[in-house]
Amino acid sequence: MSGDLAVQVRGLRKAFEDVVAVDGLDLEVGTGEIMGLVGPDGAGKTTTLRMLCGILLPDAGEVRVAGHDAVRDPEEVKARIGYVPQRFSLHRDLTVNENIAYLADLYTVPPGTWTARREELLEITQMAPFRDRLAAALSGGMRQKLSLICALIHRPQVLLLDEPTTGVDPLSRRDFWQILYDLPRQGVTMLLCTPYMDEAARCNRVAFLHQGQILRQDTPAALRESIHSRIFEVRCRPQHLAREMLKRLPLVEGVEVFGDRLHVTLRPEAAPAEAWRALREAGVGELAPREVEPSLEDVFVAMGGEVENRKSEVGNGEDGESGGTGVSPILPSGEPPPPRTGETPVPPGGK
């Protein structure tokens, strides 16, 4: 295996009872890369990350993280990685400083080095004034920043982040990224699961995960260029009528509301003028359509449509899933539940 790869996954598989959460996943992340892992709820992101950390045993497949086999030598991997789980996973009855010291001890960071690191991290995240506050008394944003500090206190080679900014306000999110963005320069590799496409856009590469497999991975720019549909921003009065009407047009792929504007996605072959003419004929006032660059979110939505098309070609129920009709485009029923400690029964693999 190549020494340049910080994460190398081949044929990874994990099923919980009858639900296949990860289904033959292949993934490579180069050293110093920021890799974004995105996908619909229940696509298998959390399960994948847990197997990379060596805390969940895969049913099949090879996992190498930071140069070690996560299945055979999980402890070697654990010593070299930092992990921020989705659910707050520090001690609520310990203060910020105590939690950091706890982690520094667990990773046996030499006492001389981690205190300086702690000060630096507390400073960047604006957490220094709260160092003696109990974790239980921190706001959601501050808790996540503390989790990040704790995951970095031993200077890991690879950092695995599971939706670290979910429920975090934009201000804390900026503080959070202030640290993340600095890490690749220090040679730290990052694998980040996120539901926010603006965060995915900051990654070197983004992988779209769906039903436990990676559908496509590329740079954000290449992914955006892969969208051939054109997107127009348009103001309409009355807006909801325009929305309903546009949705019915065969040349329109999708309509999304952005405040007082609509984002209208037209099929690649469609002539935009046709759409606006249809609007005017229906008596909807329309103002200055403006073509906009597709965002990564548009890519995400388009991928969902693609999956749906592929499914309808394959036919219903072939993969043993029933009742998938009528559910949102990207998500058939029978989504594998990402197990969350304490909330769902832990899968039998844990025994």
């Binding site: 706001s139 975090v168 934009p170 201000l171 963005y181 900051r202 509301v257 029933s322 009528g326």
Partner: protein, 316 residues
């Protein structure tokens, strides 16, 4: 226009900590009212008071024309509340959860069944009605929670971070659903940390440290509070970010997607040029720097940071 929510001088103290510090605002019927603010600003505390779950320390509030102190039972009947954290019974199926709450709100059995069909159709829950709630992933739980909160067709819905942890496609569907609800006459009171979503609201307030620091339509918010915004494309981006954060002309510089959003101080006359100059001095290659209207996120951060600075100045 009749008011769905009317709040004046509402205060909540926990011991010597003031979570909500005399806020006043009102929400008209049929609005999608966005209630924004950093974590810990007092949003959830406020919502709990408005839902009659928490008694205010002082102040007045009327919810759906009922008094918050004396008529909490009537308030609870006229609202739907979707809390921030998962609050369904994990060992009941989605259908059983929805029907349980229908029972709590005395929705007739036949009507409840109709509502289950209707809501699950609109929220795409049909295939999952008989799944145990604990086996659902976050996005599906949120849908189930939303259906539960709305089963009795309340005229007023409080949704506390409904899209938290939800993927982009689902998020779009949620907001389409919320838009429809409002058009059908339901007043929606919603919190979110995703500033794109705030654009869906008819009106917004931003709360900070227990006080309301800004109020208006999304349009007003974007034009009123923040000037001198520049979007920058540069390589390498982190060097540009560092250089700009070090510049005395810059109020705030941060990543925005794969670009930088830079807010310059008010006295800067040509912001784009100032940015180019600062980056030139630092030896960073600028691909593009243009003045842009601020996004909601820029506004939020500027206001919240301003609030923080004000607080910091106040306490030595």
């Amino acid at each position: 226009m009749a008011l769905a929510v009317e709040v004046s001088n509402l205060v909540k103290r926990f011991g010597d900590f003031t979570a909500v510090d005399g806020i006043s605002f009102s929400v008209s019927k049929g609005e999608v009212f966005g209630f924004l603010g950093p974590n810990g600003a007092g949003k959830s505390t406020t919502i709990r008071m408005l839902c009659g779950l928490l008694l205010p320390t002082s102040g007045e509030a009327r919810i759906a024309e009922h008094d918050i102190y004396r008529e909490t039972e009537l308030i609870r009947r006229s609202i739907g509340y979707m809390p921030q954290f998962f609050s369904l019974y994990p060992d009941l199926t989605v259908r059983e959860n929805i029907e349980f709450y229908a029972g709590m709100y005395e929705v007739p059995r036949a009507r409840a069944r109709e509502r289950v069909e209707e809501l699950s159709g609109r929220l795409g829950l049909e295939g999952l009605l008989d799944r145990m709630t604990r086996t659902l992933s976050t996005g599906w739980r949120q849908r189930a929670a939303l259906a539960t909160a709305l089963v009795h067709q309340p005229p007023l819905a409080f949704l506390d971070e409904p899209t938290s942890g939800v993927d982009p496609v689902t998020r779009r569907q949620f907001w389409e659903f919320i838009d429809d609800l409002a058009r059908e006459g339901t007043t929606v009171f919603v919190t979110t940390h995703v500033m794109d979503e705030a654009e869906h609201c008819t009106r917004l307030v931003i709360m900070h440290d227990g006080a309301i620091i800004a109020e208006g339509t999304p349009e007003e918010m974007r034009t009123r509070y923040v000037q001198n915004m520049v979007e920058v494309q540069a390589a390498p981006l982190w060097e540009a970010l560092e250089a700009l954060q070090a510049s005395p002309l810059v109020r705030e510089a941060a990543l925005f997607g794969d670009a930088l959003h830079v807010q310059l101080r008010e006295e800067v006359v040509d912001p784009a040029e100032a940015v180019r100059q600062a980056l030139g001095e630092a030896g960073v290659a600028v691909e593009a720097a243009e003045c842009i209207p601020p996004t909601m996120e820029d506004v939020f951060v500027a206001l919240a940071r301003g609030g923080e600075e004000a607080v910091r100045e106040a306490s030595p």
